[in-house]
């Protein structure tokens, strides 16, 4: 039987690395690389969290903190956005969870190209170091906004253009894209070719489906960022005019001739919108698995979930210009993009209904991962609904560049994916470390984060309706912004600082549980997917001992009538399933068995 899966069963990865260096530093083991990716991503994420606290301090208490000037403020905004979207979320979902889960959930020993995988992490680390270096150079990091729109991104007067700030930003992005391409080729090839016996594509857990489709999106969307970053770098360094129009800046006529800033916007958002789904699709997948496991019920509409992931992935490439309604585009053009944008709501709504229906009549266990997963459903619906406002051209025009937009995208691609990240980290922590985390701390962490983020972002919608503009260092005295809005801003800041500080509980929990946590056992959540069936916990190098597992069914066999344990792991042969006395023989669920 082995002959059917030689690629999953690579024997050359079976040589255990022995030295500390090959085991933990220059490791080619997908699990170690996943932890390296995850640790680095969380580290830069914490930096970005501190940056957001600084922004909030300025907004909530203007004229109070002398160490924040307008230039610093816009630098914090820029670096916060860029780090969170690319260096935290993309890296943690795909580099972290992609690396950890793909081989384990598919029953492979490792990724198909372990060396390339290692290289991918070290390039990622290099890109992070280049990015962080920009904090320490003359003029500091770039303050161009995370969208880096030319011409202001590279013109004098924008922070980071006197020194190498903007150059380091662009180079870091180029290196990140190379790092991701190495990893991405690995993930796609592993999913296509390194599945174990019986693991058909339609038996893969939705986590793998989400990561797989997101990786394909990323492979084809990141080139757009690569192209735009490279051309902007040349505009800055060598005086070309790809994006830079003929202009006079600070009293001097520039050497640029007649480039098109709008061209940059198109290229950037051709990457930027798929990027939203590069983050969201893995989150959709991971949350599906967490919900199904802790509700003790098969995911509702598995095939529909897969189709929706694929459909959303495809549609995400034809909606980019809804970020550009105010760029002066032809209204008919805007209408087309509004139309495609609203169509995406259909597969997305299917997914939301299916999550809710998975919970319906389930035997819900209110574990910490489940709390975060259910929190995600709330925040995601919330952020999705405001997306319908902004997707319509006429509604978007007055709301554009206000705090309504800030509230929308933070709910939909800030808080929601982070909820899933916490759910996933708590869910897989026992497998990754072999220890159980502190449940009480986890629950406090959830309620503080969930309620706290609502306290931050709900009022921001109201500020947006008032017309409070985003990106402003200080609002000054204006007629349309009442004093109550200023008071609200102070409250938002208090909530933000509270949520930020409460994340220390999470960091403390995952570190101290490494030492003090109770042994978790191999399958604490009584889960059916393959990663919980490894012979060792944490899984050893090569994952599966002597023989690869054989898969007999899908990854959602929970709550099966008549079965003693209420779940049947994917790798248990039908004849070995233990039944309740008198329940008869185990049969697969066919449509006839649903009442």
């Amino acid at each position: 039987m082995t002959s059917y899966v030689p690629i999953a069963d690579q024997s050359h990865v079976m040589h255990d690395p022995h030295t500390f260096i090959t085991k933990y530093v220059w490791s080619q083991d997908h699990k170690v690389i996943a932890i390296q990716y995850g640790g680095t991503a969380i580290f830069v994420g914490l930096i970005a969290l501190v940056l957001s606290a600084m922004m909030r301090l300025q907004l909530g208490y203007p004229d109070t903190f002398s160490f924040i000037d307008p230039a610093n403020y816009i630098q914090f905004v820029t670096m916060h956005g860029m780090i969170m979207v690319i260096y935290l979320l993309t890296a943690l979902f795909l580099g972290g969870f992609g690396n950890y889960l793909i081989p384990l959930q598919l029953g492979a020993r490792d990724m198909v190209f372990p060396y390339l995988n290692m290289l991918s992490y070290w390039f990622y680390l290099l890109s992070v170091l280049i990015l962080l270096a920009s904090f320490f150079v003359t003029g500091g990091p770039t303050g161009a906004g995370w969208t880096l729109y030319p011409p202001q991104a590279i013109l004098r007067g924008t922070p980071g253009t006197d020194g190498p700030g903007i150059i380091l930003m662009l180079v870091s992005l180029l290196v990140f894209i190379m790092a991701f391409t190495m990893g991405g080729l690995n993930y796609v090839t592993t999913v296509l070719q390194a599945r174990t016996h019986g693991m058909t594509l339609m038996r893969m857990p939705l986590s793998v489906w989400g990561i797989f489709v997101a990786t394909i999106l990323a492979l084809f969307a990141f080139p757009a960022l690569f192209v735009s970053a490279l051309m902007m770098l040349l505009d800055k360094l060598l005086g070309t005019s790809f994006f830079m129009p003929a202009l006079a800046s600070l009293g001097q006529v520039s050497e640029h001739t007649g480039g098109s800033p709008i061209l940059f916007q198109h290229l950037f958002w051709f990457f930027g919108h798929p990027e939203v789904y590069i983050v969201a699709l893995p989150a959709f997948g991971l949350v599906s698995d967490v919900l199904s496991t802790h509700a003790r019920k098969n995911i509702f509409g598995y095939r529909m979930m897969v189709w929706a992931i694929v459909a959303i992935g495809g549609l995400s490439f034809i909606v980019w210009a809804h970020h550009m309604y105010v760029s002066g585009m032809n209204p008919y053009f805007g209408f087309f993009f509004a139309f495609t944008t609203l169509i995406i709501a259909i597969p997305t709504a299917i997914k939301v209904y299916n999550w809710v229906l998975t919970l319906w009549h389930g035997n819900i266990r209110m574990t910490v991962p489940m709390l975060f997963a259910m929190g995600f459903i709330f925040t995601f619906i919330h952020g999705g609904l405001t997306g319908i406002f902004l997707g319509n051209v006429t509604v978007d025009l007055p709301l554009s560049d206000t705090y309504f937009v800030v509230a929308h995208f933070h709910m939909v691609m800030g808080v929601s994916p982070v909820m899933v990240l916490f759910a996933a980290i708590y869910h897989w922590y026992p497998k990754i470390t072999g220890k159980m985390f502190n449940v009480t701390l986890g629950k406090i962490h959830f309620w503080a984060t969930f309620l706290g983020t609502y306290a931050i972002y709900l009022p921001m919608h109201y500020l947006g309706f008032l017309g409070v503009p985003r990106r402003y260092f200080a609002l000054g005295s204006t007629d349309f912004i009442p004093d109550s809005a200023m008071a609200l801003n102070a409250n938002i800041t208090q909530a933000a600082i509270f949520v930020g500080v409460m994340q220390l509980l999470f960091i403390y929990n995952i570190i101290s549980s490494l030492r003090n946590g109770a042994p978790a056992g191999g399958n604490p959540w009584e889960s059916v997917s393959l990663e919980w069936q490894t012979p060792d916990t944490p899984p050893r190098h090569g994952n599966w001992g002597d023989k690869l597992p054989v898969v007999y069914r899908w990854a959602y066999e929970y709550g099966v009538p008549g079965v003693k344990d209420d779940f049947v792991p994917q790798n248990v042969p039908p004849e070995e399933v233990v039944m309740e006395p008198g329940a008869g023989k185990y049969v697969d669920r066919s449509e006839g068995h649903y009442s």
Partner: protein, 207 residues
Amino acid sequence: MNPFRLLTEKPWLSTPQTVGGMTVEVSQASLVPPQKVALRVFLGVVGVLFGLFFTAYFIRMGLADWRPMPEPQQLWFNTLLLFLGSITLQWTSHVVRRGETGLVKIGLLLGAIFTFGFVFGQVSVWQQMTAEGYYLSSNPANSFFYVLTGLHALHILGGLWVWTRASVRVMAGAKPEVVRLSVGLCATYWHFLLLVWLAVFALISYT
């Protein structure tokens, strides 16, 4: 694999398949070497990269300051060299399968000569251009010319790295069987880069 059948599969039903009289659980994972699959995906990525540059080129062309640039005749000669390199590697991947070590060595060597010839040819075109005063930032068409040819040459040099590894092994006396896969991959990659080059060349001539 039929995608429609794949997507309508009912995963909650066990569907053991009979292979060679034995009932086994199959994964449908194909036995194509993973390197081949990864290369195809990579070619897709590179294709998108150049495709986006082409799109940017067309949009930029429509703006007021666009001026056509001269088309050096040497580019035709360079194209011929890359074409020969591509043909040679295809022939090499053919003789590798027949196991003829001597011919494989000749093929790898010739392929490298043609390819390096192409890269040096491109560099000499750059020198001609700069000698005539057409620098990177002189006009937008030139900017695209340097960026596109430079990126294309970088991709070729990346391919030559795989070529070098294969050649070193053959020269050190390895059986052709060992490098069969890498030579095949090189051939595919060279054909692809030839196509990209033809597109770039057409675009440059279209100014």
